[in-house]
Structures are given as structure tokens and as C-alpha cells.
């Protein structure tokens, strides 16, 4: 079981700034405050959290804010001392957001799942094996490691290790003995 959150970043931004006029995610203090709000929302559930972080109504995001909102959020929940098990699907990330988000992911060696019109894909720093394992898990839906291994034509042990690594990176969930790619319709 996991608790699902839909977090509209533009709403959090307006609440944070107490102002309806701004739809731009700019400056570090703003980014830190927005991330703080997101963490509060996630902290309301004690079980595994699954959050859709929705950028649809955000006009732009600069590098500093992307570092605070995206990179630091991911880093907190992929850390060994993460406050809880949380997974993120990023929605509404358009071309104008990508430069800043990709830049901070690269800087920190992070990756995230991004939902677009034609499905979900990964953005950021991944090895080729990680990418192929995630693609296979996403394509076939919840599955055991050997099923994913077969789907990608790789060895079972290696695939399981890769899926576990993706789990630590919060890109794959491990539910009832099965691996579920973040963003998978059955996830």
C-alpha cells in the first residue's frame, strides 16, 4: 500500500509566497520553501508515499530553484537516512523547464521519472543497464526480477541487482515481491 499525493507546484508556490501574481520558480529561498512544503505534505503519511509533482502551471524554473526543489528533494529521499520511503513522478515538465532540471540532475548524478503525452521515461544520469532494466519493468508492468531479466535479455542476478539499485534511487518500487517502475499504470 502507498499513499498517493498530487502536488501542484504552482499552488505550493503561491502558498509559499502568499501571492497569486507569480508563477515562476525562481531563487533559492523560494525553492527551499517550496521543497519544505512538499516534504510536509509527504510527511503526513507514515507509509510509503507516491507523489506526482506537477509542473504544468509553472512558467519557468531557474537553476537555483531547480537545485532546491528537484535535486534536494530527490537527494533527501534517496539518502540512506531518508525520512520515509517516497517515490516521485514528475508531470507537466515542458521544454522550458528541462534545461534547469537536467542540469541539476547531471550535477548531482540523479534521475527522475517524467510523464509525458506518450508515456513515462527517465531523465537524468543512468547507466545503460539501469535504463534498459527500467524500460523493461515499465513495459511489462509489475514483475519478478526473472521476468524483467527475460524481457531485457539479461541475466537474473545482474537484473535483480540493477532493479534493487533502481529501487534505492526511488525509480522502481518493490511491492509484494514484484518490481514496479515508477509511472507504470499499475504502479
Amino acid at each position: 500500500m502507498h499513499q498517493m499525493h498530487h502536488i501542484d507546484v504552482s499552488v505550493v508556490l503561491r502558498q509559499t509566497l502568499a501571492c497569486d501574481l507569480y508563477s515562476n520558480l525562481v531563487t533559492r529561498p523560494t525553492g527551499a520553501a517550496v521543497r519544505g512544503q512538499i516534504e510536509l505534505l509527504l510527511g503526513e503519511s507514515h507509509e510509503r508515499a507516491y507523489a506526482v509533482i506537477d509542473f504544468s502551471q509553472v512558467s519557468m524554473i531557474d537553476f537555483s530553484c531547480a537545485d532546491e526543489v528537484v535535486a534536494k528533494l530527490l537527494m533527501r529521499y534517496v539518502a540512506d537516512d531518508s525520512p520515509q520511503e517516497a517515490y516521485f513522478l514528475f508531470r507537466g515538465v515542458h521544454d522550458d523547464h528541462r534545461d534547469a532540471i537536467e542540469s541539476v540532475l547531471e550535477r548531482h548524478g540523479l534521475a527522475l521519472a517524467i510523464e509525458e503525452a506518450d508515456g513515462v521515461s527517465l531523465l537524468g544520469v543512468l547507466t545503460d543497464v539501469e535504463r534498459r532494466a527500467w524500460d523493461a519493468a515499465y513495459r511489462i508492468g509489475p514483475a519478478a526480477a526473472d521476468d524483467v531479466a527475460r524481457a531485457m535479455g539479461a541475466g537474473e542476478d545482474e537484473t535483480q541487482a540493477t532493479l534493487d539499485a533502481l529501487g534505492r534511487r526511488r525509480l522502481v518500487m518493490h511491492v509484494d515481491g514484484q518490481y514496479v517502475a515508477v509511472g507504470s499504470s499499475r504502479g
Binding site: L17, N24, V26, T27, M60, D62, F63, S64, D67, R107
Partner: protein, 298 residues
């Protein structure tokens, strides 16, 4: 005794050095009169730097306003006198802001002292920049958002590093003298800590054998080093540098006695100027030129 500081007729980032050459040898509490009576033109950098200059003085300086009415009107519309009134003793007649038509600047001279100011500036510029970058500079729409990001990052430098407020202005004009094309220019200046002192405040900072303003600028602008130890810091200037390179623009950052520039093929500025007259704080200029349709961009 009052020392008269002559402002050159055309005031930009380079000719402002002539102003600094006159001011730098004087003690901070020396009485100065900044004489702009014969000024005819000033870039956004020139205007914001004049305000910054006043902030470096312990004694409130005097300022003789341009005699040419068109110049005075332009400076008035850019909000120069509005802010200069609080920093200088103004001499001569100049138009009051309320009597002037709206400026056609993308952003009049605006103070930056806190994070909200950056939101405000970005919000105000975004819509107008869209039309200018696409229609006048003939750049792809992707350049528009990058411009707002760049503006945001260079303004944040003041809040994060200067330790005191600064100024920003954004203007689009035809740069006949140097380029013969339209440009959009961002100028951000402050009289704060400057890059060298900012980096020196890093806990455990160990200066290299050759540690000076030029080295500090190389560290910050080229290598993305920040006074903050966090790995994610320093991305703002790196992003600005990438944006400028991508759109064939120019980035110049002056601090202390040095200026570092990312120089495009159309310009012949030196990448690193050292031994300039001392000027506190940091002064940043970003120039994005009109694209040359179907031709080499030189």
C-alpha cells in the same frame, strides 16, 4: 576640496573605466562631483554603475546631470534620477519621473535587495522579452525562457553574495557603434563583497599562491566555484555562461580590479583584464545580439 570626476560622453562598461580611474585613487570619504553634463549616451551598465559608484562613497557625492535634454529625458525615463536622488546631491535640471512618458526599456533601473525583487523583475520582463527576443532579435523561442533564467540568476548573485543591495536594468537597442545590430542587454551591479572576498569567506578557504580578483573570477565564472560548499552551488553562473555561448552573446563580470569575459566572435574584448582600477562589488553585463539570418554570425 571637491574632486570633479568627468563622465565620458558615451558611457558603457568600457568607458566607465575612465570614471573609475579618476575615483579609485581617492579615499572613500573624499568629496566628489560626478560631472555628467556632457554625457550623451549611457548603456544600462553605465547607468547602474553610476548608482553603484555613489554607494561606494562614505561622503554623499554630488552629481551634475546631463545638459542635453534628450539625454536627461532618457536617463529620467530609465529611472536613473529617481534612484540617484537618494544617493547623490543632484545639480542641474532634470525631468521628474512623473512628467515623463513610460520608458521603452525592458526593465527600468530597479533595486535588488531581496528574493521577492527577483520574482518581480522576472515577472515584469518575461512578457516584453518574449516579443523582443523573437521578433527583434530573431532568436528561437527557446531563447526566451533562457533569458528570464539568466536574468534571475544574475540578480540572485546580489542576494546570495553581495551582502547588500544592487541594481538591475534591461534594455534593447540597436548597437550601431560596435555591432550594427539589435541587442538586448542585462546589467546587474552592486557595491558589495565582490567575488574574491565572497570566495575567501568559504570555511577552510586556502588561497592559491596567485590569489587575486582575476583568479577569483576564473574560479567563479569559469569553474563554477561558490563560497557555499554544497555541490549544487555555482550553477547559476554556469547556466548563464552556457546561455550566452549558445546564443552568441557576451558575458562580462567585473569585480575588484579584474574583468572576465566570455567573448563571442563578433567582439574583440580581452577574455581577462587585470590591473583595472579598484571598484568594490560585482558588475555583470550580458549582451544577446540579434541573429544574423542565413549568415556567419560575426
Amino acid at each position: 576640496m571637491t574632486t570633479v570626476i568627468t563622465v565620458p560622453p558615451s558611457l558603457d562598461d568600457h568607458s566607465f573605466e575612465q570614471v573609475l580611474e579618476q575615483v579609485a585613487p581617492l579615499p572613500a570619504d573624499a568629496k566628489i562631483l560626478v560631472d555628467a553634463r556632457h554625457a550623451r549616451w549611457a548603456s544600462p551598465y553605465g547607468l547602474t554603475a553610476l548608482l553603484t559608484l555613489a554607494q561606494t562613497r562614505a561622503e554623499r557625492p554630488a552629481f551634475a546631470v546631463p545638459e542635453h535634454s534628450e539625454t536627461a529625458s532618457y536617463w529620467g525615463r530609465a529611472a536613473f534620477f529617481h534612484h540617484a536622488e537618494t544617493l547623490y546631491e543632484l545639480h542641474g535640471s532634470y525631468p521628474k519621473r512623473r512628467d515623463l512618458p513610460d520608458s521603452n526599456a525592458l526593465l527600468d533601473i530597479t533595486p535588488i535587495t531581496k528574493s521577492e525583487d527577483v520574482h518581480n523583475v522576472v515577472g515584469r520582463v518575461q512578457e516584453r522579452a518574449q516579443a523582443i527576443i523573437k521578433n527583434e532579435l530573431n532568436l528561437e523561442s527557446k531563447a526566451i525562457m533562457g533569458f528570464a533564467m539568466t536574468l534571475s540568476e544574475v540578480c540572485q548573485n546580489i542576494i546570495e553574495h553581495a551582502g547588500r543591495g544592487g541594481w538591475v536594468a534591461v534594455q534593447s537597442y540597436r548597437w550601431t557603434k560596435r555591432l550594427g545590430r539589435r541587442v538586448v542587454v542585462i546589467a546587474v551591479t552592486d557595491a558589495g563583497l565582490g567575488f574574491r572576498k565572497s570566495l575567501e569567506s568559504t570555511p577552510g578557504h586556502m588561497p592559491s599562491a596567485r590569489w587575486d580578483d582575476a583568479t577569483a573570477l576564473e574560479e567563479a565564472v569559469i569553474r563554477g566555484v561558490s563560497r557555499f560548499r554544497e555541490r549544487g552551488r555555482g550553477q547559476g553562473l554556469a547556466g548563464t555562461r552556457n546561455y550566452v555561448s549558445r546564443w552568441n552573446g557576451k558575458l562580462s563580470v567585473r569585480s575588484g580590479t579584474a574583468r572576465i569575459s566570455i567573448v563571442p566572435p563578433w567582439d574583440d574584448d580581452e577574455p581577462l583584464a587585470e590591473g583595472l582600477p579598484q571598484f568594490p562589488g560585482a558588475q555583470v553585463q550580458v549582451i544577446i545580439p540579434e541573429a544574423v539570418v542565413g549568415g556567419a554570425d560575426r
